[in-house]
Amino acid sequence: MSEGVATGPITELTRQSRSGSARALAGRHLTALAFLLPALLLFALFSWYPIVQGLILSFQRVDLVRPAEWIGLSNFRLIFNDPLFYQAWRNTGQFALYGLLFGYLVPFILAVAINEARHLQSYFRLAFYLPVVLPPIVSVFLWQWIYDPGSGLANTALGWVGIGPQPWLQSPDTAMLSLVILATWSNAGATMLIYLAALQGIPSSLYDAAEVDGASLWRRLLDITLPQMRFVMLITLILQIIGTMQVFTEPFVLTDGGPANATLTVMLLLYRYAFQYGNYGAASAIGLILFAALVVLSLIYLWLTRRFAQ
């Protein structure tokens, strides 16, 4: 029955109850609600309520010892007076920027190259994706050792190609970059797979037509591949920025924000305020600012999705 209406909102239960009484209607709503209840409850407790609560906490003194107390803008004054607050944003921005450079380009190049490969393709996919599966704590500890200036693999490998040893995590100048390399290593495989899927969706007729017109490989890449990938690349771009704004585990475990606060990120600062200084209000204020920044990015993302969907 009802061939072709599957996408319509009319469901079997609606139809059933249409002829039913008000009681049946109430029963239908109750059933619908019953199925929704677990999700509603958990979202309310662990998402909606905390989001609202975060706003409130930002204007309170919260140390979990004394009762919470309204203190107006004091939390914001405290963090805006903290030189580390600005440094944390600069560092996070730097991480995001480096992250784009590596985390964006590397998977793209890999995907394009692998898409051309007619042999070993599944090995390539597998090999580049492997690090994504590792627990972050494993990658992080592994790279801590790899970055060891003396006994680490990184400087040894550089030595093979005649480059001198680098300080990696041991210098304020290179520590952040080192974290980005680690993050790229751990995550590039996932982005690569997304790109690969997008590449495989590009109709080959486009390439054929271009080739007939005498377009070089380079031109075909610029004129066909890139425009066709534009949408998915934009999406991953925003998602990646959102992801990098929350970077925590790598600096927390590897450098604890050092050396000399060079890798202190916003999340790490938030963590310190809350869990080391016991100032949950100020930490919430930092969270609120981060929250606002992320909402803006998400809105851009939504707007882009919509625009390109048309």
């Binding site: 007076n81 100048d173 050092g258 080391q276 016991g278």
Partner: protein
């Protein structure tokens, strides 16, 4: 390791990442005493059903990677439970960690009895986060044997007690005697001044090894910086009329950082790998990559437990090298109690904590087991008792000692001539955290300016921490 035995003081702390770890040291004690090898146990508080079953939770059990030490501690628990059939002890490997301790304290997820570093009790007491256990402690027969310092740290302004010291330490210089001999230095005369240390580090930096290494993360850069300040007669915080001012950006502070910078960059006697904490520097010592580092004496049992390959007899202890201050930093670990625990739990929790640390019979049995399993016994500890009780403890330790005590003579003898200075009194871990950043910069950035770094750290600590306290 933890608990009582060989390192009678809260040792495990030491095994953890914490500065706390820094706390255990010299052993001699003194004490009072009363007879009794059989320490009578605490008579639990106000009258209550003596035999109602009760379960208490305690932390600082030896970490899982030290199963033999864990087994010895299990026996301590078994002995206690046998003597107190109504009590069940649940021990957790959880220990004090400056990174998470405030959160756990606030969240109320700490055990009934929990260990903390000397930097914590005054803050905990002022925030009402620990139980008043004065009445329980005073019933303990050896209560009056505690040194005044061991109780002062857990006493509030009204004289009430919120815990007791489990162990104390003072900082000194750990060094590899084999390396000394190898380069022609006298292992019985370790460096005792900044200049001597610097020269020795230069001589020892050879054969792919480094002469010296220093901590700079997990608040331990600030912790050791404080010790260096004391060794040069410097102050970190000044107090006037209840208002605190950060003054560690003074000339002495600059001198300390410049000294570290010289070792790291001018002389190249420190490794390139930095951002280390005490567990890292101990590992560098244990694996022979570095010849000297600042440690508390509990580094010795730590190395013995953690690095099966290391030869413990290679290591010697000297005093913290001096530059006119004639002092070193001292601290310790304290046992405190959850304010939410009901009295019927609190009484056995206090009782058990005293038992695990100080009960003489248990100490002897544990030391015996430790000796059999090859643990290190007899390394120097800071006495926290006086009189007969201390003498009895000493005597028991001496009976089972297997450590190369001669190796520690420069430390024990030298410390006698030093003032022992406590850690700065207010928000100490945050102070250390602020200084960590400066020490890290000095050790990782050749062009870093000591004064600018300290000014920045002092300003940050002042505006973010002290000013809100000053009000």
């Amino acid at each position: 390791m933890r608990d009582d035995r060989s390192y009678p003081f809260g040792n495990r702390l030491s095994a953890s990442r914490t500065p706390l770890s820094r706390r255990k040291v010299l052993g001699y004690g003194a004490g009072l005493g009363m007879a009794a090898a059989i320490a009578p146990s605490l008579r639990p508080g106000p009258a209550r059903a003596q035999d109602a079953p009760v379960t208490i939770t305690v932390n600082n059990a030896p970490p899982e990677n030290q199963p033999e030490a864990g087994a010895v501690f299990e026996q301590t628990i078994a002995r206690y439970e046998e003597a107190h059939p109504n009590v069940t002890v649940e021990a957790s490997q959880d220990t004090w960690d400056p990174q998470t301790f405030p959160a756990r304290l606030a969240a109320g997820t700490l055990s009934d009895a929990f260990i903390a570093a000397y930097t914590e009790p005054q803050g905990i007491i002022s925030r009402g986060q620990a139980a008043n256990v004065t009445s329980y402690l005073e019933q303990w027969p050896y209560f009056s044997s505690f040194t005044p310092e061991a109780l002062a740290i857990v006493r509030d302004a009204a004289g009430q007690l919120y815990g007791f010291t489990g162990g104390g330490y003072l900082l000194g210089l750990m060094y590899n005697r084999a390396h000394f001999e190898e380069v022609g230095l006298n292992p019985d005369q370790p460096p005792t001044t900044w200049d001597e240390l610097r020269t020795a580090a230069q001589t020892l930096t050879t054969n792919g090894r480094f002469g010296f290494v220093e901590t700079s993360s997990n608040n331990q850069g600030g912790w050791h910086f404080t010790a260096w300040m004391y060794s040069a007669g410097g102050e970190l915080i000044s107090e006037e009329g209840g208002r605190y001012t950060a003054i560690f950006n003074n000339d002495t502070g600059v001198q300390v950082l410049q000294y570290l910078k010289d070792l790291r960059y001018t002389d190249g006697t420190m490794p390139e790998r930095q951002l280390l904490d005490q567990n890292d520097t101990r590992q560098l010592m244990a694996t022979g990559q570095v010849s000297m580092s600042i440690q508390a004496a509990d580094a010795l049992p730590y190395v013995r437990e953690t690095f099966a390959d290391a030869d413990i007899t290679q290591f010697g202890l000297g005093i913290l090298p001096q530059n006119g201050g004639n002092a070193t930093l001292t601290g310790g670990s304290v046992w405190m109690f959850n304010p939410n625990s009901p009295p019927e739990v609190l009484a056995p929790a206090v009782d058990f904590s005293l038992f695990r640390e100080f009960d003489l019979q248990n100490l002897e049995a544990s030391l015996q087991a430790d000796q059999e399993r090859g643990a290190l016994i007899g390394w120097p500890q800071l006495p926290i008792f006086t009189g007969d009780f201390q003498a009895q403890r000493q005597e028991i330790f001496a009976r089972y000692a297997n450590a190369p005590i001669e190796n520690y003579r420069p430390f024990v003898d030298g410390a006698a001539g030093l003032a022992l200075r406590a850690e700065p009194p207010i928000e100490t871990q945050q102070l250390y955290a602020a200084i960590d950043a400066a020490v890290q910069a000095i050790l990782t950035d050749e062009s870093a300016d000591p004064r600018a770094l300290l000014d920045q750290a002092a300003q940050q600590f002042q505006t973010q921490v002290l000013d809100p306290i000053n009000g």
